[in-house]
Amino acid sequence: MSSAQFGYEQYLQAQAALRQQAMTTQYPPGYPQQPYPTVPPSLDFPPPTVSFPYHDSDDETTGKHLITTGLPPGMVAPPQAMEHTPGHIPVVDPVSDTGSAPAVVAATQVDTTPPNSAAAPQPTAPRTPRKSTVEVRNVAFFRVLRAESIKLRTLTSTWWLLAIAVILTIGMGALMGWTIKMAFENPESMGISPDMVDLFRNMEATTLATTGMQFMQLVVTILGVLYITNEYSSGSIRATLSAVPTRLVMVIAKAVNLGIAVFLTSMASLYAAAMVGWAFISGYGVDDRFTLSGLRAIAGASLANTLITLLAFAVGLLLRSTAGGIGTVLGVLLVLPIITQILPWDWATTTGEYLPGASSIWLYNFGDAAAANMWDWNQWGFLKGLWVTGAWALLPFIGGLAALKARDAGGSE
């Protein structure tokens, strides 16, 4: 009951009740009963005139420190000492009543040994740090590169996505190889014209390998987006930037790791796809598995994948949202090409050629026409494919860097 709920009238009533109770209460003999004072006291009270004897001693058997307080003569007290150990209810031992001088004993235990010294340490109990020397070096690019590589490798989705990319690429290579083999063996039953069979006769193994490129691109772009947006959706970007306050270093380290991972995975899976594909068409098509031109095509395709992944990474960096990032990238790779094809104007068609999906094809298309324009920056060939796709990766990346530097670190709250 607090005073707030207690009005003055109730207060007076309670006082009257208390007064009545005090008058009728039976106190033990020896309780000092004083007449009811009529004069209010001053605030300066004199020191008390009653002094209580007390002494302290050490109990020899238990080693406990006892403070014994005597009571004024005539007062009733418990027959013997009560010992109070923290955590235990004091128990009065009825047997050891000696009838000696009445005394109330308050015992305080003086600790001479550390508590719980005998208890086994709990397995998950945190400890107080010991003084240790920790070697801490300056943040440097190669260290951040290592840190970001640990992060890429310990992201569960990395392995899933790369595995799907590898399986898709090899699977598509195998499927194409098998189909073409069937076409060679039974052109009539498959409804394939003799001209088409002639075309297949010049099929390169690496061309089979790059059949799955578009699927692979979709998968690795998801990795590119996730690698950065994962930091924002989980909020770990704050821990990352606390450790590496130079944001450019952090993001370039991420991009390098991502690029290397995607390039190597692409190389390996495309090469594997070329080998599998060749197993089907050996004897019919061109064997370019171990030739320089074959490797060139696979490396070019891997470069295309890498640049598209960096584009996805940059979009993720700008949008900071997994769904928004993947949606945007898929829009650029899948939807925009269709729109530019539907639109009737020439400029739309031309624009379509400059979209990253289309321009990246020139990085691994070394057909006759492309080979002729290979180093012409203005005709579609390797060089033009490289700078257009490179611009698609680089410009959003530079924009992402600028935004990263200017904006607050963010991360979900």
Partner: protein, 310 residues
């Protein structure tokens, strides 16, 4: 050592932090208090270089955070324990951060051991309870053996043992001369942990004082007395400046006189006292008194909305 100079952060029309000038000194635990939305976390993020101040500056150990060569060795921070990649294990999270500063695996194992994460270090962070995530956050903060610690709600979600451990830890670190800056909404915990207080409300500095001074500023003296003579005592003591609340038949709460005066008074009258408990001023009360006017999201009196009898 953390110093901010006219630190200001504006989000659109909202002034989250308003020209805050504070110094968090080494060798002490400094508590950072304020109602929800007062700008505590924003201030901490600006100190860590995560958010850019609209104006003003924040320096750690004399440098802007962005210019620190070994940030993890200068500042250990726990901002939001839940900010973990859910698919990554505690050990890998620590290893990645350690790699940026060339910190050894031995040290990573050391902080795992230190924070009691040994048995869960290989589990994915997504499966962690809040308490485990807090321990990991503290492990991250301690990783680089920093001179300054910034901890936002470090005991949130910890079990009693963990709460006590954090308290002992920050006291220990402050004893080593390190700067400890921590926020908490648990006033009783803060009261036991901090030496100095910085109180923020609506982005403005309300108080920057030592704990004892802060509590005594807004406290009143008094004691709770249990005596069979409660009525006589209440009548006898009644005078201007003394307020007496009867709490029960033999229990009164006296405001305006301290326990010593009451004890002495009872002795002169020969009144036996069965209890004499000084009314201790609490940080919670002092804090509520101070921030009462400045709370952004004030809870309305619940009596108006709940608890009405059917």
């Amino acid at each position: 050592m953390i110093q901010t100079k006219s630190l200001t952060k504006r989000y659109g029309k909202t002034l989250a932090v308003d020209s805050l000038t504070i110094t968090v000194e080494p060798g002490k635990v400094t508590g950072f208090l304020g109602p929800n939305g007062a700008g505590k976390s924003t201030t901490m993020r600006m100190i860590l270089g995560l958010d850019h101040p609209t104006s003003g500056s924040a320096k750690v150990n004399g440098h802007l955070y962005q210019h620190l060569k070994r940030p993890l060795h200068e500042v250990g921070a726990l901002l939001d324990a839940r900010a973990l990649s859910p698919g990554r294990t505690a050990r890998n999270h620590l290893l990645a951060l350690a790699a940026t500063h060339g910190i050894s695996k031995t040290r990573v194992e050391e902080v795992i051991e230190l924070t009691g994460l040994r048995s869960v270090a290989t589990r994915k962070a997504g499966s962690y309870s809040l308490g485990m995530a807090q321990r990991l956050g503290i492990a991250v903060a301690l990783l680089g053996d920093p001179k300054t610690l910034i901890l936002d709600e470090p005991v949130n979600g910890l079990d009693p043992e963990g709460v006590r451990w954090v308290r002992d830890l920050v006291r220990h670190l402050a004893g080593l001369g390190k700067t400890v800056f921590l926020s908490s909404h648990l006033m009783s915990e803060m009261e036991q942990t901090a030496d100095h207080l910085i109180v923020l409300a609506r982005g403005k500095l309300l108080a920057d004082v030592d704990m004892a001074e802060f509590i005594s500023q807004s406290s009143e003296i008094g004691a709770r007395v249990r005596t069979p003579y409660a009525t006589q005592m209440a009548d006898w003591l009644a005078q201007p400046g003394v307020r007496i609340d009867p709490l029960g038949p033999d229990l009164i709460e006296v405001h305006g006189l301290d326990a010593a005066q009451l004890g002495d008074a009872a002795a002169t009258q020969g009144w036996a006292l069965h209890e004499l408990i000084p009314l201790t001023a609490s940080l919670e009360q002092a804090y509520l008194d101070l921030t009462n006017d400045a709370t952004e999201y004030r809870s309305e009196s619940f009596e108006a909305h709940v608890g009405q009898e059917a």
